[in-house]
């Protein structure tokens, strides 16, 4: 589809390990003349944390939107546990066990922290409150459970959005810039939460520009540039990749 790069270069990156829980195959999305995501393929294994990095406008957010079915892809496929989810609605994809947060938190501002969670909690209504409380407790927001989301600090809003994703216990979690604008204490908490969940078998795909955190957090990095996969591998290798340094890290 992209055609301008030799097929051998592509085979080296964007590998899909056997038994990947989330697979992206040849995903492409255009906006008018701009190809935001161009024939991107990769797969990620359950119980791992993968970083998706790249310069602004490289297609990270669009890729997130395609994977979570917020917008349709022009071609290609996304599979969750081997099952194609590309044609499903965003709501169905979430119900199949894929949750995501947004670059700018999208909470329900005139609802309390607890209500933000109860609103999306599936299963029996009588357990919704307990589950919301447990999720708030996990991210350390119990003290502000009855506060309106609009009144929470920026960092608290990020944590609340994270708690809202967790309340339905998804297997795959996409975090869009979870560290942007978050203070160091909150950062540390977030990292601890992600590690704890990974150890329980949850799978993460995370974008962020906080490279220090991403390097420490992820066992694998996928680099996007101009909508195409530029590199894919363990953090040290990617960090040393001349093309990645050129496109993203700088000198």
């Amino acid at each position: 589809m992209s055609g301008d790069r030799p097929a051998t270069a592509r085979a080296a990156i964007g590998s899909t390990p056997a038994g990947a829980i989330l697979e992206v195959a040849g995903l492409t999305r255009r906006f008018g003349g701009v190809i935001a995501v161009n024939d991107v393929s990769f797969g990620i294994v359950a119980g791992t944390v993968t970083g998706l990095i790249g310069p602004n406008g490289s297609g990270k957010s669009t890729l997130f939107r395609l994977i979570s079915a917020e917008m349709p892809a022009h071609s290609g496929e996304v599979r969750l546990r081997g099952q194609p989810i590309t044609r499903r609605s965003a709501s169905e994809v979430n119900r199949l066990g894929l949750g995501r947060t947004f670059q700018l938190s999208r909470l329900y501002p005139a609802m309390t922290a607890t209500e933000n969670l109860v609103a999306v909690t599936r299963g029996e209504a009588k357990h919704a409150l307990e589950r919301a409380a447990a999720s708030l407790d996990f991210v350390g927001l119990t003290a502000v459970a009855d506060e309106f989301a609009a009144n929470l600090s920026y960092g608290q809003q990020k944590l609340l959005e994270f708690a809202r994703v967790l309340v339905n216990d998804p297997d795959v979690i996409l975090l869009d810039e979870p560290f942007a604008g978050v203070n160091p204490v909150m950062e540390e908490r977030m990292v601890a939460h992600i590690h704890a969940l990974r150890d329980r078998g949850k799978t993460f795909l995370i974008t962020d520009h906080e490279i220090r955190l991403i390097m420490a957090l992820c066992s694998r990095l996928i680099v996007l540039d101009h909508g195409e996969l530029l590199a894919d591998g363990d953090p040290a290798t990617v960090r040393a990749d001349a093309r990645v340094i050129d496109a993203y890290f700088g000198t």
Binding site: S68, E70, S89, A90, S91, N94, R95, G99, R100, F102, R106, L107, Y108, P109, A110, M111, E115, N116, V118, A119, V120, T121, R122, A125, A128, D146, E147, F148, N151, R164, V165, N168
Partner: protein, 322 residues
């Protein structure tokens, strides 16, 4: 803005009791009016109940999901005509005709809701205005069945008391349904659609199904109110039952009381019915203009309605039950 302090909670609980007592007293007075009230009083309260049913119905879709409909009178009008036609052409007894009115409005709600609820914000509001107008014109044109612009005359019967209680039953049911919705997660899901529809969808809320369901239930209650109105007034014409002013009043009442709350439409319709009656009797020539000024004032100074105003003051609790 912190949550209420412990001391405030005690005050809020007291406020809630007063609030509940006022509503209970009003309900009691409304119950006994047919036994003691004059025909003027009965007609006036009946009008208020009708407005309250429409406000409560509008609140279910627009107050909760934020899909503000400017064409809600369409469902009232459809209910009126469905009942009228069933009685006049079908010789169907009134209670059944009124049930048909509700069903017809709900069916039309589902039919038009499916495409219309894909529109958002002002596009939906104006789209519904168009739907209401199109239905009004269709009813006007279908003269052999509807009587066209000349209207439809029903067999005149003195049913004011029966219609009064029927309307009260619709209002009560609307409030009970709203209460049930508001105290279950489904109420929060509807509010989540209002707050951020994309974030609702992305968190697994079945947005389309919920919106359509709320819209159909909302239309059902408006249709029932329309059916009862036609039965009682025994003459309907498109200009009256599809009047935009019916929608505007429902919106104003709900906004005054509090959108997306249980008792907001009730409080709003009691106050606005009382105020507009007082204005109408004292200032017969400018009462509509004064009502308009009042609506502007509500939007400017009480954007969350009376319910939120009392809650912000800590006079009643921040509870979705109110």
């Amino acid at each position: 803005m912190a949550g209420p302090l412990i001391a405030d909670q005690r005050a809020a609980a007291r406020g809630q009791r007063i609030y509940a007592m006022l509503l209970a007293v009003t309900a009691g007075v409304i119950m006994v009016i047919p036994a003691f009230g004059s025909n003027y009083t009965k007609t006036f309260v009946m009008q208020g109940l009708m407005s309250c049913a429409l406000a409560g119905s509008w609140n279910l879709i627009s107050g909760f999901t934020g899909y503000v409909s400017f064409g809600h009178a369409a469902f009232f009008g459809i209910g009126s005509y469905a009942a009228g036609i069933a009685i006049v052409h079908g010789g169907i007894p009134a209670p059944l005709a009124i049930a048909i009115a509700g069903a017809a409005a709900a069916a039309v709600g589902l039919t038009f809701g499916y495409p219309a609820l894909r529109l958002r914000g002002p596009y939906f509001a104006v789209g519904m205005l168009g739907v209401a107008e199109a239905i009004r014109v269709a009813v006007t044109v279908a003269e052999p069945v509807t009587g066209g612009g000349k209207g439809l005359v029903l067999p005149p019967e003195d049913v004011l008391d029966a219609a009064y209680y029927a309307m009260l039953a619709v209002v009560t049911t609307t409030v009970l349904v709203t209460y049930r919705v508001a105290t279950l997660p489904v109420g929060l899901r509807l509010l989540a659609i209002r707050e951020d529809e994309v974030a609702a969808e992305m968190n697994g809320i079945q947005v389309t199904r919920l919106k359509l369901g709320a819209f159909a239930v909302s239309a059902l209650f408006a249709g029932l109110a329309g059916g009862i109105y036609a039965w009682q007034i025994s003459y309907i014409d498109p200009g009256t039952v599809f009047a935009g002013s019916l929608t505007v009043r429902a919106i104003a009442m709900t906004m005054l009381g509090g959108q997306g709350t249980v008792f907001g439409p009730v409080v709003g319709s009691i106050l606005l019915s009382g105020i507009s009656e007082a204005l109408w009797t004292r200032f017969p020539f400018i009462h509509t203009a004064l009502s308009g000024v009042l609506i502007v004032a509500i939007v400017l100074f009480l954007p969350g309605g009376i319910t939120q105003f009392l809650q912000n003051r800590g006079w009643i609790p921040r509870s979705r039950r109110l």
